[in-house]
Amino acid sequence: MSTDRLEELRRICDTYGADPAHWPAVERDAYAALFLSDEAAEIRAEAQALDGFLNAATAPRMAEDLTRRITAAYVPPAQQSLSVMDWFRSLAPFAGFKGMRLVPAGALAGLGAIGLASGIMTASAEQPLTPESEALAYFETDIVLASLDEEEAATWDAD
């Protein structure tokens, strides 16, 4: 095994850690096999040790009432638009809201393709939308979902 390849593997692990899933695709394809070899044992152990420490530092769960507090910042809804609702619903995973994985992760990319934000806000509504009202509609939906446990949410999702 060439020293150069081991050194490159060390650089990758020093940068991205011991989980090849975190590596860029090109490096993963080129070095994943070497990573598992005996020659790379020391590099692997070193990177795994640091990853282990990092993974032990769990972030606390978001406060249950954070969604409510966010909601409180908005004016009650006058009307709803399904497309806008979908848009807001798709944001939920990024806020870490519980039980809100109702829209596939790929939906976000799709949103960009159909002209997110300005497009949805204006083109999809028959009548002028009140931004605050749509936001509240979204967050109210979230509050309902947040009250479901994961199993219930999964069942609802499947429906």
């Binding site: 991205y16 850690g17 860029p24 032990a56 990024f94």
Partner: protein, 170 residues
Amino acid sequence: MIYAASYRMLQSRDAAEDATQETFLRLWRNAAKWKPRGAKFETWLYRVAMNYCLDQLRKSKREAPEEAAPGGLDGRADSADRQDQKLFLSEQRFAIDEALGQLPERQRLAITLCHYQELSNIEAAEVMKISVDALESLLARGRRSLREKLAPMREHLMGKMDDEQTTHVN
């Protein structure tokens, strides 16, 4: 995800909640102005949140790190071993939080985005508005620094494992 990333950066639950709220308020205020221009929405949202976090860090020096959520505490009396294990885990988390908190902001942000939020190097570089090479440099320096800061803990851990093995043998 926004909350978790904000917590990693600010190391305070209250501050992370404020960051999450502020991110969504800014999102709403600016949603109509947002144009895809090839950027993913996720990247944009992270950028809003992380910029807010960096602003907060710059405004006031970091608060003392909070202890992570004590998941699993149920009020029952624990055995001495379990209490010892909890104490050790708590110390470990504290040390890691502290080590992360001592990193320069941009190194911490790079590790938060790539390791914890599992963004690709290209996405993380977009959030930070830097090149992939610059991101890799931040990641490598950040991880090297963490390894050095956490070396005593690793030695402690290895020593503890040795002690346990000795106990089992005896």
